[in-house]
Point group: C2
Chain length 301, copies 2
């Protein structure tokens, strides 16, 4: 039995994982605690409850979080979490539970989850890209997760794809994330003279609904996103040569609206030596479980 914890900007999920299946979960809020110590107390309490309620001891805890550095076990300056300082969450949870705890970047966790239990099973070289509030990535190379020399590799979302392009949340310009995150697609829709009323709806779903109703700017928004994302994915393939690219997260569930133009652009943009050697698919894991499974997979590295 392994515990997988997925730390989100609003809430955090704690799950008990048995051989690749999530058998029980709890959820706590991420915001609203007095400080990071109170949050760690609440996490530890949920872990104890899960174990007690299911009558099974857990051998390890894996925690996936934004801006987490796996080499140090620290969440570093996360813009979307309540704590602006460095939070050594692996150590804090381990001290409170007595169970070995591993912290990793949420996109890396998703990559491991997909690799162990989902669309990446059996592959030596894999790329997973998360498309949501941000754009994250996890690279598996030669059967190992790429961490980089400082534990912070795999930031495909901050690859420059348009020199001097849109300003990104990282204060640099032209990042992939500025174009193919939720915020990026909404900005594109406005730049294409889309109807501001449509954007009163949530996330990217509202643009997808408009596209389905024939809104030309909405359709065009997905075609533009496909083009930018195609460049980013083809660029990543040219670096690590994966056998498969897996898309994960909210935007990846836009169906044919995104995937039809994306498959076309991706093939077009790939260097010829990769043709027929890499495919592009969406996640094979149920959404609610994927992040927990990925976090659990961090413990087996």
């Amino acid at each position: 039995m392994i515990i997988g914890i997925d730390i989100g900007g609003t809430s955090s999920k704690i799950g008990l994982v048995d051989q690749g299946r999530v058998i029980a979960t709890k959820r706590i809020i991420t915001t609203g605690h007095a400080d990071e110590f109170a949050f760690a107390d609440a996490l530890a309490e949920s872990v104890r409850e899960l174990i007690t309620e299911n009558g099974q001891p857990a051998t390890a805890i894996g925690i996936g979080a934004p801006n987490a550095n796996q080499l140090t076990g620290i969440i570093e300056m996360a813009p979307n979490l309540p704590w602006k300082n460095d939070v050594p969450l692996a150590k804090m949870v381990e001290e409170r539970t007595g169970i070995r705890s591993v912290l990793g970047n949420d996109a890396n966790a998703a990559a491991l989850g997909e690799w162990r239990y989902g669309a990446g099973q059996g592959l030596k070289d894999l790329l997973l890209v998360t498309l949501g509030t941000g754009v994250g990535s996890g690279f598996i190379v030669n059967g190992q997760l790429v961490l980089g020399s400082a534990g912070n590799a795999g930031e495909l979302g901050h690859m420059t794809i348009v020199i001097d392009g849109r300003v990104c949340t990282c204060d640099r310009k032209g990042c992939l994330e500025a174009y193919v995150s939720i915020r990026g697609l909404r900005q594109t829709y406005l730049e294409l003279d889309g109807d501001p009323e449509v954007l009163k709806g949530e996330g990217v779903h509202c643009i997808a609904v408009a596209a389905a109703a024939g809104d030309a700017a909405a359709l065009q928004t997905f075609r533009h996103a496909a083009r930018w994302l195609g460049v980013g994915l083809a660029n990543a393939v040219a670096v690590t040569g994966p056998a498969r690219v897996v898309l994960f997260g909210g935007i990846s569930r836009s169906g044919d609206l995104l995937m039809l133009p994306l498959q076309e652009r991706f093939q077009e943009l790939l260097l010829n030596i990769y043709h027929g050697r890499v495919d592009l698919v969406t996640s094979a894991l149920p959404d609610d479980d994927a992040a927990i499974l990925g976090a659990a997979a961090l413990t087996t590295m």
Copy 2:
């Protein structure tokens, strides 16, 4: 004793390597042989001569070549070599010499050479970029050369850095190679209204000479190259997070003309989490030996 062979478009060098030092070399032409079999015969003959003349048996042969696939041992459709078909050179040399032979991409060989014997010693994560007729790259990740699922990873030169930009030799548009290869810099110089007389000189050296004499277009050419290369390098760092980037090949020896603006652009373009965690240097190996040492290093993988 290991034999290192560097296959170039015009000539090929064969060297005897002892503990990281090249102790004797031969050179044969690459073009002008009847076919690839006659070329392999000539290579094998040089290998035998080197061994006989130095009175030392060799345990392995490493061969670095453009468009070589290390997983298959085959040179695949190399545009700059005389043979347009697939050439299984590792097997051909091994059959003719009786010595275990390994073939690898020339940029990967250079990365291994720099890692074992040059500016990358002791690092777990390294990126080497060759700047010359083409732009090649070799990535070391977690102490291993990145080959990719099909043996052809590490094509940073064909990362798209300008969407719908210059046409590249690969028939795609906007590749890094179209901007920072010899051909790319010469094209930039012309686009900046440089003096066509200057380009009657060789390679990029003629532009460097003009820059040293105060030619504004020539100076600007290097500044533009620094900007495009800065984008490509920062993008690569965001994928694999190396501790060091090493530049290799003719253009990298342009000194401050390139390196001063490049260091500035590179730092500016790096995502903040990599600041202070990655440096950018030029090769520490003597030019004539680097390719042979790299090829020799292929045998120790």
